[in-house]
Subunit: 171 residues, 2 copies
């Protein structure tokens, strides 16, 4: 499978890319609309698209990609998910829509569930793991500011502090 990853978070993007490559897939990345459209040719089978690129709307890219390559399969993957954008994305032709702390298995599964395949044995992240990943992501977004992160996450600062202190969160 040839993947195109469109995400301005290069850290996340490269991690995902590495894992896909290890599986034996071809991966190309893009960090903005221009790159994305330029690198999306017939060789691409699957696209992982972040909805929130800089200022640009991922939904717009989605439309353009679908117009360009009708056979392409696009999965939306975003940290700023909402039901309304999910609905819109599917109507525009995406095959699935995931919230961002998502494992490779889930992402691959998101492509294949639509193909009507029988689902392979794929373990989703535990709730605790998911929570941890999400917290780290938001914390990072807020430049390590605990108070702001707690507000943004709708949780008590005290609680967030306590959660951060006990890091050992294994699956």
């Amino acid at each position: 499978m040839n993947y195109l990853l469109i995400d301005d978070d290069t850290v996340f993007s490269s991690v995902l890319a590495r894992m896909l490559v290890r599986r034996g897939d071809q991966v190309i990345t893009a960090t903005n609309t221009e790159e994305a459209l330029a690198r999306c040719d017939q060789s691409i089978h699957r696209v992982v698209l972040d909805l929130k690129l800089e200022q640009e709307s991922g939904l717009l890219i989605l439309q353009q990609l679908c117009a360009l390559q009708p056979d392409i399969k696009v999965v939306i993957l975003t940290g700023y998910s909402s039901i309304s954008t999910a609905v819109e994305a599917i109507k525009l032709g995406a095959v699935n829509y995931l919230c961002k702390p998502a494992g490779v298995n889930e992402i691959i599964g998101a492509f294949e569930s639509s193909a009507g395949n029988v689902t392979l044995e794929q373990a989703p992240l535990s709730v605790n793991r998911l929570e941890w990943e999400h917290i780290q992501r938001v914390l990072n977004e807020n430049a390590g500011n605990i108070s702001a992160t707690a507000r943004s996450l709708g949780m008590h600062r005290r609680t967030l502090q306590r959660k951060l202190q006990k890091r050992p969160v294994k699956n």
Copy 2:
């Protein structure tokens, strides 16, 4: 316009019906799958469907309705909304997906909305919201099997049950 309202909450259903009638529309109601299918004939233009009818899956009804009357427009309206069911619903042919409570205007708008302008979120999901979405997704993957979902999520079945009883957390 001829509406068919499918909802086991007769209070909500009748209120909505009254408001539609006052607008000059025809309204028929149903509270379960059987009634819904029986009352869905060519005269119906629009369906408002609650996803959580007793034990029955609204998604199943959605498929049957679409198979029966391909031209019909179905809007999902549910109190237990999640991104994964929204995605499923749209893929199965619903034209929109709303969270209860929703006003008449919103509902009518949902039928008429053309593709277009949804605003991207600017704040990340709260941890609770994210947890809810994840649970719904995995639950969906496990075909509604609570025990399996709990195992898969590394949480106690009892806890999962309790979480599912509560309504989705608003961001």
